[in-house]
């Protein structure tokens, strides 16, 4: 039985820099996390998974389909969607419109339907709006549906990005530092929401996180990247005690690497 999502031997170079070096990764339902120091290649790996970068070597498969060489919108249509580390909402559109754009891959209408406004168009459009407000409801932004995305507070923008990604009906959701800039309380709420999503929507979620408390609490499985290589993988408590992980974060004695929040 193959995993829902699998990558084998991913290599990504930028000039002379090897950003990702032969990473094998696979995941199934539930919440998985990728952690690692700054510059470890976490976001690069996300970009390879979602088609923004083409890997120099290796294979990515989702439900048995190869994703390598597909455009990001095709990958989204297959059911893999993501959020961004630095929020990338459609700043001058309203919250609900942002969510509606997320449904684009699921809209089965053409130019002609839009021009003629046939009954089918109205039915579909009504359905989109209904689902859009449900999604906003889910992330707690229903009251802000008509607000311009740019005017929302930071935490709300993060949650709106989540709703927008959910709108594409993904089976695998990739979240790049979803709690960045949130208070501990907000982060906890968000993780509760993610837990519920996994159950309700039968989702697989892959997180990049720096907030260790969050990671250890919520993850079913943690993978640690350093210098583009996978150095540890397993249950949160196993990874926490791994010598190589501690070394990656804190450095060996007498080597200088900036210390980060230790696990």
């Amino acid at each position: 039985m193959t995993a829902l999502f699998e990558s084998r031997g991913i290599v990504k170079r930028f000039g002379g820099l090897v950003a990702i070096n032969r990473v094998d990764y696979s995941l199934d339902r539930g919440i998985s996390s990728i952690i690692g120091p700054n510059g470890a290649g976490k976001t690069t790996l996300f970009n390879v998974f979602t088609g923004l970068y083409e890997p120099d070597a290796g294979e990515v498969t989702f439900r048995g389909h190869s994703l390598v060489g597909l455009r990001p919108d095709q990958i989204t249509a297959l059911g893999v969607c993501r959020t961004f580390q630095n929020i990338r909402l459609f700043a001058n559109m309203t919250a609900i419109e942002n969510v509606l754009v997320g449904m684009h891959a699921r809209v089965r209408l053409g130019l002609w339907d839009a021009l003629t406004h046939r009954r089918k168009f109205h039915q579909v459009e009504r359905g989109l709006w209904r689902r859009g407000s449900e999604l906003l409801d889910r992330v707690g932004l229903r009251a802000n549906a008509n607000e311009i995305a740019r005017n929302l507070p930071y935490g709300d923008q993060r949650r709106l990005e989540l709703a927008r990604a959910l709108a594409s009906e993904p089976s695998l959701l990739l979240l790049d530092e979803p709690t960045a800039g949130m208070t501990q309380g907000e982060a906890g709420d968000l993780m509760g929401l993610l837990r519920r999503l996994v159950v309700d929507l039968d989702l697989a979620i892959l997180l990049i996180e720096h907030n260790m408390r969050v990671v250890m609490e919520v993850s079913d499985r943690v993978t640690v990247l350093d210098h583009g290589e996978k150095i540890a993988e397993g249950l949160p408590r196993d990874v926490q005690g791994d010598a190589r992980v501690i070394e990656a974060y804190l450095g060996r004695r007498s080597t200088s690497r900036s210390p980060r929040a230790a696990p």
């Binding site: 919108d73 095709q74 459609f90 559109m93 209408l109 549906a145």
Partner: protein, 406 residues
């Protein structure tokens, strides 16, 4: 209530004044102003629609009866409004800066000019011009040819954005103009700089004069274009365009196929220009490459930006303001200064009659236009009617869109 009375009064008063002073530009401007007032006034929708329909369908042709030039101005406004609405899709909604937009207008114009005039005999031997009735078919041919040209332009520039895209489209506009200028050899397609004439005009029922007929035709096309624009804007396609404008990468990651969305935007925008090109060539009877210069593209872009990017009323108002400025206000201004000069009026002890010819008013019409643009951009960078986000009540499933404010 007061607004309703004021709106009716404004239209009635201004139209009476036009009837009394059929030659005064200022008075005609008040008529145009009254329409704008009707549009923004807080009055019931039916009254607004009724007054605008009355003004455009009845009063404007009547005014044209008193002063034919005004009807010509109104027709030009309509033509440019259509162009501005088309460019608004490409630039305002999809965010693709197109500096060669007038090329699509040229493609439409030449498609009818060649086949609607005896010129086609030089290419195909004989049997032309086509019967005038073909004009109506060519409205659709012009649309299709321009849309196809839009796709052809779109294909090579899909990977470009921003400044690079602007330069390529600028080049494309020039290529079309240069082609029109030089495709008289080896086979004479465009008759080069001499242009094509006489271009056939459509047959009209009931002996309506051509000036009125073209006015109504242009008006009808503009209304259709506005409806199409609205529908696109309110659909998944319009949302995808706007998402692309806001953040291309995020749009693609959310499932918007960029290639398709961009080609759709180019094709839709171009098709509006193509239709108007056909009308333009028939209206003018004569066209040559001079009508499709880079300056025209910039003019249409100025309309879109002045009106408010991505806003339908903005594009229409922008087109009106720029066209009326060019055709009437600035011309009237130079005429007025010339009259003062000829009358030998003295200002601050200096006789205007001694004004050197370098300072002739007609020479700085363009400068005044430029200053107006600069001032507008400083004090109202978002345009006259900036695009408003439509607010929707989510409690009901998909109610009609309602706009905030007036």
């Amino acid at each position: 209530m007061i607004h309703a009375v004021a709106a009716v009064a404004a239209v009635a008063l201004s139209v009476t004044m036009v009837a009394v002073f059929p030659r005064s530009i200022l008075v005609f401007l008040t008529f145009q102003g009254s329409m704008l007032f009707v549009y923004v006034a807080r009055i019931p929708a039916w009254l607004r629609a009724g007054l605008l329909a009355l003004a455009l369908l009845v009063l404007m042709p009547l005014i044209g009866y008193f002063n034919g030039y005004y009807l010509e101005v109104a027709t030009q406004v309509g033509i440019f409004a259509a162009l501005a609405l088309g460019l608004n899709i490409v630039v305002g909604l999809a965010g693709l800066l197109d500096l060669g937009y007038v090329a699509f207008f040229a493609v439409g114009a030449y498609s009818w000019a060649i086949f609607g005039s005896p010129h086609a005999n030089l290419i195909f031997g004989g049997g032309f011009p086509l019967a005038p009735g073909w004009f109506y078919v060519f409205l659709f041919v012009g649309l299709a040819v321009a849309a196809l040209t839009g796709v052809l332009l779109g294909l090579p520039v899909l990977r470009l954005r921003g400044d690079y895209l602007a330069i390529v489209t600028l080049g494309f506009g020039e290529v079309i103009r240069v082609l029109a200028n030089n495709l008289d050899k080896p086979v004479n397609f465009t008759n080069g700089p001499k242009g094509i004439t006489p271009i056939g005009r459509p047959p009209l029922p009931f002996g309506i004069p051509y000036s009125e007929a073209f006015y109504f035709l242009v008006l009808l096309i503009v209304v259709v274009i506005i409806v199409v624009n609205r529908r696109l804007e309110d659909s998944h396609i319009g949302r995808a365009w706007e998402a692309m404008r806001e953040d291309e990468l995020a749009a693609q990651a959310m499932g918007v196929p960029l290639v398709r969305a961009k080609l759709q935007a180019f094709a839709c925008g171009a098709s509006f220009a193509g239709v108007m090109g056909v009308v333009f060539s028939a209206k003018q009877i004569f066209i040559n490459p001079e009508s499709f210069t880079f300056l025209e593209s910039i003019g249409v872009l100025a309309m879109v930006i002045l009106g408010g990017m991505g806003s339908i009323p903005g594009a229409v108002v922008g087109a009106t303001v720029v066209t009326v400025l060019n055709l009437q206000v600035l011309k009237g201004f130079s005429l007025w200064l010339n009259e003062l000069k000829n009358a030998g009026v003295t200002v601050l002890g200096y006789s205007l009659a001694n004004l050197p010819t370098q300072l002739e008013p007609a020479k700085y019409e363009r400068m005044v236009f430029g200053i107006i643009l600069v001032v507008m951009m400083i004090f109202r960078p978002q345009g006259i009617f900036p695009a408003r986000r439509r607010q929707r009540e989510l409690a009901h499933p998909h109610p009609p869109p309602t706009e905030v404010g007036p």
